[in-house]
C-alpha cells in the first residue's frame, strides 16, 4: 500500500495550478480531499507522476449566497457544507445528503469539488448536483467555461473535463418545494447500494415542478428525465408514484458487486425512490 513516486506541488493560486496541469498533461492530477485518489494511488491502480494539491488556493474555498443564487467553491469540505446555517436554510437537502456521505473523518477532509469532479458513480454529490441542476465552473488554459452537471458525466471516471481544466466552483439556484435524499448502504462509510434524491413542488395537489436523480445505479449519476415528464402536471396519487418509480428504475443500470446482484439493486432502487418521493411530498 505504497504509491509509486510522484512530485508534489502546492500552488497558491489557480493560474499556477492550471499552468502545472498544462505542463504535465495526463501525467498530472489535482488532489482535493484525497479520499478517492489516495487509496487508488496506494494500491497502484493509477500511476500519477505529478500531484497538484489545491488546498493552498483560497479563492476556490467557501460558500457564497446572494439572494437565491448559491455558489460553492470546489475546495469547500463536506463538513463546511453541513455546518453552514445559511446554506441549510436555502438548500436543506445539501445537509441531508452530506450527512450520509462516508463518516465524520472523511467529511472533515472530503470536498464537494473532489466528490463531483472525480466521476465516481458511487459518490453522492454528482447525483445531488444533477438533482439541483447545478452548473460547474471549469478553469483551464483556454479560459473559464460552464458545464451543466447533467452534461458533465460520460462514464465511470470519465467526464467532459479536459486534462488541463480544474473545477473551481459549483453554482445552483436555491430549490423550492419538498425534498429528500434516501440512501441504502451496508454500513457507515459505505457507498450506496442504491440512493435517490427528489425535489418537487405540489400546488393544488398537482405536481408543478420536479427533479429526480439516482446515485450508484449506473456508470454515471442518473437524472430521471422520463420520470420527471411523467409526474409534471399530474395529480399526486399512488398510481402516479408507482409509474414514476418504475420510470426511474428503468433508467437505472446498476452492476453486480458485493452489495448484491443487479436484480436486488433494481428492487432496492425502487424502494429508495418511493421513499424519497413520499418524504419529499410530505415536506411540501
Amino acid at each position: 500500500m505504497i504509491p509509486s513516486a510522484f512530485t508534489f506541488y502546492k500552488p497558491d493560486n489557480i493560474e499556477k495550478a492550471i499552468s502545472l496541469m498544462s505542463d504535465f498533461g495526463d501525467e498530472a492530477r489535482v488532489i482535493a480531499g484525497g479520499h478517492s485518489l489516495i487509496p487508488v494511488m496506494k494500491q497502484r491502480l493509477t500511476d500519477i507522476k505529478h500531484l497538484i494539491d489545491l488546498s493552498g488556493i483560497n479563492e476556490i474555498k467557501g460558500i457564497e449566497i446572494t439572494g437565491n443564487q448559491i455558489s460553492i467553491g470546489a475546495m469547500t469540505t463536506q463538513v463546511e457544507l453541513i455546518n453552514n446555517e445559511e446554506l441549510f436554510k436555502k438548500a436543506p437537502i445539501i445537509r441531508e445528503a452530506s450527512l450520509q456521505i462516508a463518516d465524520p473523518q472523511v467529511r472533515n477532509l472530503g470536498t464537494i469539488g473532489g466528490n463531483v469532479a472525480n466521476g465516481d458513480p458511487a459518490n453522492d454529490m454528482p447525483g445531488l448536483m444533477q438533482l439541483l441542476d447545478a452548473t460547474y465552473k471549469l478553469s483551464g488554459s483556454n479560459g473559464v467555461r460552464d458545464v451543466k452537471a447533467r452534461e458533465f458525466y460520460e462514464g465511470a471516471y470519465f467526464t467532459v473535463r479536459e486534462d488541463d481544466e480544474i473545477l473551481i466552483s459549483i453554482s445552483f439556484d436555491a430549490p423550492s418545494g419538498g425534498y429528500a435524499y434516501e440512501k441504502q448502504k451496508r454500513k457507515i462509510g459505505d457507498y450506496a447500494t442504491a440512493a435517490a434524491g427528489v425535489i418537487l413542488k405540489v400546488e393544488n395537489n398537482m405536481c408543478s415542478s420536479a427533479s429526480i436523480a439516482l446515485t450508484n445505479l449506473s456508470d454515471t449519476p442518473v437524472y430521471c428525465n422520463k420520470a420527471v415528464d411523467i409526474i409534471l402536471g399530474k395529480e399526486i396519487d399512488n398510481n402516479i408514484l408507482t409509474q414514476v418509480t418504475e420510470a426511474c428504475v428503468d433508467q437505472s443500470d446498476p452492476v453486480a458487486d458485493q452489495r448484491g446482484p443487479v436484480e436486488f439493486k433494481k428492487y432496492v432502487a425502487g424502494i429508495v425512490i418511493k421513499k424519497a418521493l413520499t418524504r419529499a411530498i410530505e415536506r411540501t
Binding site: I2, R186, K187, D190, T193, D257, G260, F264, Y267, V268
Partner: protein
C-alpha cells in the same frame, strides 16, 4: 487517641483488588495514550524492510521469476525466491496441522495472494517499487474453489507434491485433493436410531469462510546477531514459545540461541497463532544481509493471505420422538482448508473439537465425520475467537435444534429445555466422548427466558406478523435463541499437543524483599487484559495487592514455557498455573511465618493477606513481613528468597456455557435488519474481573454480529478474493453495534483451582447462532428452514423473494 483503626478483614480483602473485583485495566493507561509498543514500533539500527510479490492468480505454474530489474533499483538489496530458500531447506515449512506449506512459490501457486518472492530494501518505499518490478511468468491452471468439486474424478490436482501419497498426517487419503477423514462416535448405532426414529430433520448448514481481521496485521522484526549467533524475533505471535521451538526445528539454530518476543499485540483472534512465510523470509533475509529485517503486512495482505476461519459445510440429521426427546445426531462435514492444511488444532484433532457438536443436549447416540479437502484458497482454518471449531459445532447444533423444532411444530425454547443435560448429570460424558465438567443449563435458560420476557416477545412477534399479513407493515420480527456449551482450555497433555508440544502452561513468581512481586507466564495478551486479571488471581492467592504485582509475558528468554493464548486457554490453563504457583509461595510463606511467630506450621491459618495464629488473631505476620524475612533471616531448613514456578497440566477441559437471545426487525423489501435487543447470559464459572468479562462479551458479540450479518471472505469462480478491503469485509462500527444486556450464572469448574472456565470466546460462539437464528425465525412462518450466512441485505432480500413475499 485511638484513631488508628485496625483494618477489618473485609477492608484488607478489598485493598487487594483480588478475585471478583472490577479492577480497571492496567494496560489501558499506555494504550489510550499511544504508548503501546507494537511490532511496527520496533526500530533497530540498520534495519531493512521486506515485502512480498504475491500471486495475482489462484492456480498457475510459475514458469519464470525475473528479478534483475528489481535488483537494479537503488535501495533494493535482495530478492529471495524459492530457489534461494531451497538449499537451506526452507522453501517449504511444516504447518501446525501436520501438513507442509510453501514459504515461497515452488514451481506453482495455489491461491491468490500467495507469496512468490520476498524483496528486501532500505525502506517500505524502495521495497514497494522493487515488488512492482519483479516479473513473474504464470501459466494459468484450472481453478477449484468449490470443495464439493475438489474430489471429482477430473478435478485439477492442486498439491502435486503429495499427489501420490495415500496416507496423510491424519490417516488415509482417497483423492489427491483429499486431506483427511476424521470420525467420532457410533456410526452404525446412529444410522439405526435415525432409521427407526419418529421424526428426523435433515439439513445442510454452511458456516461460511471469514477472517479474524485483527486491528493490527501480522508482522515481525528478525535480527540475527552473527557475532554471538543469537537470533531475536519480535513478532505478532499468539504462541511465542511454540514459534521458538518450530523455528529451531526448521532452521537448525539451537533453541537457546533463539529469542522470540511478542510485544504488545493489537488483537489476534486466532489469526496470529500459526507461522507465516513472512516470518521465515524475514529470518532468512536477516541471516543473508546481516542486519535486522522488518516485515509488516498491509490490510489487503492480511485479509487475502493469512489464516481464514470456518468454511465448514455441515450436513446434519437429528432425530427425536414425537414428544421432542432427541434420540440421535448425525453430521458429515466437508471442510474447505484451502491450499495447505494450516489449521491450528491440537495434533489429534484435525477438525478441532467439532465433536462438541452435541451441544448442551443429552443426546444418547451420535456420529460425526469430517472430510478435509484442498481448494485454491488461502490456507488457515483457525479458531476465530473460539476454541478449535467450537463456533462451527455450536452453530450446527443450534441450527439443527431450530430445524427440528420446526418439524415437530414445537417452540424451540421448549425443545431445548426438554433436552438439556440436567444439573445432576454432571460430570456428563457426551456421545462423542467429552466429559463435560459442570453446568446448570436449566437455571441459565429459565433466567434468560424470564429476563427477556420470552412469552411477551412471542406475542409481539405474532402481532407484527398479523400486521405484515394484513399489508400494514413490510417488516417481520425474529427472535433468535441459542444455548451453547464451549470446550476450552486446551488442554490435558494426554490428548492435547501441537507438533508434539503438550498443551500445559506455566507461571513463575518472584516476591521482592519489600513485598511486591513479578509473575511471568507462558501466555501472551492480545487485548485480554492478562496483566490486570492474573494479578488479581495472585492477589487473592498470596495476599499482595494486585497493584503491587507486575505481570510479564511474551519473551521466551524470561517467561516459562507455555503454549500461548488462543482457544480461551489462558484462564483455564495459565490462570490455574498462576493459582498453583501462588499456593507454593503461600506454603513457603507459612513456614517462614511459623518460624517468626515461634509456633508450629499447623498452628497458623491464612487470613486474606497474612498468617495468624489459630485462636490468637492478634499474633500474625503479613505477607509483606514474611517477604522481607525471606530475604534477611537465616531460617533453619528453609532456603532464602520467595519464588515459585508451576507447570499446570489441566486434568480436563472447561465447559463455559450460556443462553443468548437476539430480537430483530427485518424489512423484507430492503433486506435491512434492525437489531432491537441482544441479551447474553454467560456462565464462565468463577468471575475474576466482571468489568473485563463484560468487555469481552461486548467484543465477542460484535464479532458475532459481523460474522452472521455480513462478514465473509468471498471468492469468485476464478479464485479471486472479492472482499480484500474493509469496504467489502464487514467490520461493524459503533453505528452498526447494538446495545448489549449482559447477565450471568456462576457454576465454578470443579477441577480448576479457582473454578474459572474462560469467557473471551463465549460471546462469539453463542452470538453467531443467536443472530442467525433470529433471521431464520422471522421467516419461519413462511416455511424457511435454512438460509446460509452471512445475512447481509441482499441475501435476506433473497430469502423474502424466494418465499414469494415480494409480489
Amino acid at each position: 487517641m485511638d484513631d488508628v483503626k485496625t483494618p477489618s478483614r473485609e477492608e484488607r480483602k478489598s485493598a487487594l483488588s483480588g478475585l471478583g473485583t472490577s479492577r480497571k485495566r492496567v494496560e489501558d493507561a499506555r494504550f489510550t495514550q499511544g504508548k503501546g509498543n507494537y511490532v511496527d514500533d520496533i526500530k533497530l539500527k540498520g534495519m531493512l524492510f521486506g515485502d512480498f510479490v504475491r500471486s495475482p492468480v489462484a492456480h498457475a505454474r510459475v514458469k519464470n521469476i525475473e528479478t534483475s530489474a528489481a535488483l537494479a533499483l537503488p535501495g533494493v538489496h535482495a530478492v529471495l525466491t524459492a530457489a534461494d530458500l531451497e538449499p537451506l531447506g526452507l522453501h517449504w515449512m511444516p504447518t501446525l496441522a501436520g501438513d507442509k506449506q510453501m514459504v515461497l512459490a515452488d514451481g506453482k501457486v495455489l491461491f491468490q495472494g500467495q507469496e512468490v518472492a520476498f524483496v528486501v530494501g532500505d525502506d517500505r518505499y524502495a521495497v514497494a517499487d522493487g515488488v512492482s518490478l519483479v516479473e513473474v511468468e504464470y501459466e494459468e491452471l484450472p481453478v477449484v474453489t468449490d470443495p464439493f468439486k475438489a474430489e471429482l474424478k477430473d478435478a485439477p490436482i492442486l498439491r502435486e507434491d503429495i499427489a501420490d501419497q495415500k496416507e496423510g498426517a491424519h490417516g488415509a487419503r482417497r483423492h489427491p485433493n483429499h486431506i483427511f477423514t476424521w470420525e467420532a462416535g457410533e456410526k452404525e448405532e446412529t444410522d439405526k436410531v435415525l432409521e427407526e426414529a419418529e421424526v428426523v430433520a435433515d439439513e445442510m448448514v454452511y458456516y461460511h469462510r471469514t477472517h479474524p481481521c485483527p486491528l493490527e496485521t501480522c508482522g515481525c522484526v528478525a535480527s540475527m546477531d552473527k557475532v554471538n549467533g543469537k537470533l531475536t524475533v519480535w513478532g505478532t505471535f499468539q504462541a511465542p514459545h511454540a514459534v521458538r521451538t518450530v523455528a529451531s526445528l526448521i532452521s537448525s539454530i539451537p533453541e537457546h540461541n533463539i529469542r522470540i518476543i511478542s510485544p504488545d499485540i493489537g488483537g489476534g483472534f486466532g489469526n496470529k497463532v500459526g507461522v507465516y512465510p513472512g516470518y521465515v523470509c524475514s529470518i532468512v533475509a536477516s541471516i543473508v544481509t546481516g542486519v535486522p529485517i522488518k516485515w509488516v503486512e498491509d490490510r489487503m495482505d492480511n485479509l487475502m493471505a493469512t489464516a481464514f476461519a470456518r468454511d465448514y459445510w455441515m450436513h446434519g440429521k437429528i432425530s427425536a420422538t414425537k414428544e421432542g426427546k432427541i434420540t440421535g445426531l448425525w453430521c458429515h462435514t466437508t471442510a474447505d482448508h484451502g491450499a495447505f492444511d494450516a489449521c491450528a488444532d491440537p495434533t489429534k484433532f484435525p477438525a478441532g473439537f467439532m465433536n462438541i457438536c452435541t451441544g448442551s443436549y443429552d443426546i444418547p447416540v451420535a456420529y460425526l465425520a469430517v472430510d478435509g479437502v484442498y481448494t485454491n484458497k488461502a490456507p488457515g482454518g483457525v479458531a476465530y475467537r473460539c476454541s478449535f471449531r467450537v463456533t462451527e459445532a455450536s452453530y450446527f447444533i443450534e441450527r439443527m435444534i431450530e430445524v427440528l423444532a420446526q418439524k415437530l411444530g414445537m417452540d424451540s425454547a421448549e425443545l431445548r429445555s426438554k433436552n438439556f443435560i440436567k444439573k445432576e448429570q454432571f460430570p456428563y460424558t457426551s456421545a462423542l466422548g467429552w466429559e463435560y465438567d459442570s453446568g446448570d443449563y436449566h437455571q441459565a435458560w429459565e433466567k434468560a427466558m424470564k429476563s427477556v420476557n420470552y412469552k411477551q416477545l412471542r406475542e409481539d412477534q405474532a402481532k407484527q406478523l398479523q400486521l405484515f399479513k394484513d399489508g400494514k407493515s413490510r417488516k417481520l420480527m425474529g427472535i433468535g435463541l441459542s444455548h451453547f456449551t464451549e470446550i476450552v482450555g486446551a488442554g490435558p497433555v494426554k490428548n492435547c499437543d501441537i507438533l508434539g508440544l503438550g498443551m500445559f502452561d506455566a507461571c513463575e513468581i518472584r516476591i521482592h524483599p519489600t513485598g511486591s512481586a513479578i509473575a511471568r507466564l507462558g501466555t501472551i495478551s492480545q487485548g485480554q487484559g492478562h496483566a490486570t486479571t492474573f494479578a488479581q488471581i495472585l492477589a487473592s492467592e498470596i495476599g499482595i495487592p494486585a497493584s503491587d504485582i507486575t505481570l510479564e509475558e511474551g519473551d521466551t528468554d524470561t517467561a516459562p514455557y507455555g503454549l500461548g493464548t488462543y482457544g480461551s486457554r489462558s484462564t483455564p490453563v495459565a490462570g490455574a498455573a498462576t493459582a498453583m504457583a501462588g499456593r507454593k509461595i503461600r506454603a513457603k510463606a507459612q513456614m517462614i511465618a511459623a518460624y517468626l511467630l515461634e509456633v508450629h506450621d499447623d498452628d497458623l491459618e491464612w487470613d486474606v493477606d497474612r498468617f495468624s495464629v489459630k485462636g490468637a488473631p492478634e499474633k500474625f505476620k503479613t505477607m509483606k513481613e514474611i517477604a522481607f524475612a525471606s530475604y534477611n533471616q537465616a531460617i533453619p531448613g528453609v532456603e532464602p528468597g520467595l519464588e515459585a514456578v508451576s507447570y499446570y497440566d489441566p486434568p480436563n477441559m472447561t465447559y463455559p456455557n450460556g443462553a443468548y437471545v437476539v430480537v430483530m426487525e427485518i424489512d423484507v423489501d430492503t433486506g435491512v435488519s434492525d437489531i432491537k435487543q441482544v441479551y447474553a447470559l454467560d456462565d464462565c464459572g468463577t468471575r475474576i474481573n466482571p468489568m473485563i468479562i463484560e468487555g469481552q462479551v461486548h467484543g465477542g458479540l460484535t464479532e458475532a454480529l459481523a460474522i452472521s450479518m455480513g462478514q465473509e471472505i468471498a471468492y469468485d469462480e476464478q479464485g479471486n478474493v472479492m472482499t480484500g478491503t474493509l469496504m467489502d469485509f464487514f467490520i461493524p462500527t459503533a453505528w452498526e453495534t447494538p446495545n448489549y444486556e449482559t447477565d450471568y450464572t456462576e457454576t465454578p469448574s470443579p477441577h480448576h483451582p479457582i473454578g474459572a472456565k474462560g469467557v473471551g470466546e463465549s460471546p462469539n460462539v453463542g452470538g453467531v447462532s443467536a443472530f442467525s437464528n433470529a433471521v431464520h425465525d422471522a421467516f419461519k412462518p413462511f416455511g424457511l428452514t435454512q438460509a446460509h450466512m452471512p445475512h447481509d441485505h441482499w441475501r435476506v432480500w433473497k430469502i423474502a423473494k424466494d418465499l414469494g413475499l415480494h409480489s
